[in-house]
Symmetry: C2
Subunit: 135 residues, 2 copies
């Protein structure tokens, strides 16, 4: 399993799991209609409680990324199910506003900020290439 968690991180374990599955989708290491491990399996692999994984899966379900079937487990939805809509744009804006505010306060220009996000975009591009070569 490509998924790893950091117990010392400030980020909640269930959030780390959620985030890494989303990264897995954009990297291409998991695709539409792929199944995720069962909550018990993934919990055992990560050394955490089943409820922690369950919480991550339910969050992903609520956000539209997966559908949970009894027996088939959690399955990645087609991309149409979670396209950016107005609600998401509002949520995104609320997340970004304090981040941009702090960067401005610390003297970063818009150009500096875009430089910072481009590093991240390039990392994701590399992940995608990597997954393509391995899959």
């Amino acid at each position: 399993m490509w998924l790893t968690i950091n117990l010392n991180s400030e980020t909640a374990i269930y959030t780390q799991i959620r985030n890494q599955i989303i990264e897995g989708i954009i990297a291409g290491s998991i695709k539409e209609n792929d199944s995720l491990p069962s909550v018990r399996q993934l919990a055992a692999d990560l050394g955490v409680n089943l409820h922690t994984v369950n919480k991550a899966y339910n969050l992903l379900k609520q956000e539209g990324f997966i559908t949970i079937h009894r027996q088939k487990g959690a399955v990645i939805n087609p991309a149409e199910n979670y396209r950016a809509d107005q609600d998401y744009l509002v949520k995104l804006s609320k997340e970004l506003r304090p981040v941009i505010a702090e960067s401005l306060c610390r003297g970063m220009t818009r150009t500096d900020f875009i430089e910072a996000i481009d590093i991240i975009y390039n990392e994701f591009k590399s992940l995608k290439k990597e997954a393509k070569n391995n899959g």
Copy 2:
């Protein structure tokens, strides 16, 4: 006082206070060497406990934005005290990564994302103009 808090928000009150003071700095409604209200005064104005405000102030102090003097109260530092350094860039990157990941997953391109941040940059530009006219 230009500061308002939302008790129903998911964001902790002390975080809301911190964020709005940072926005106040970039808007220009508070400037270098300006004093913030005392913890008791601001707590009374906002209808919250003194410790909640104190927590916000100590966070701002730890981040370099203000210096807390006994008697003089909390004073905005000169910008040199909180310029973006390497540690901050690492923190920024860690904040942005999952946000960008989700936006990519939801089909947003880099261009779409920059469009979203530009709306925020324009809001801050308006705030700055507004504060200039009033101050």
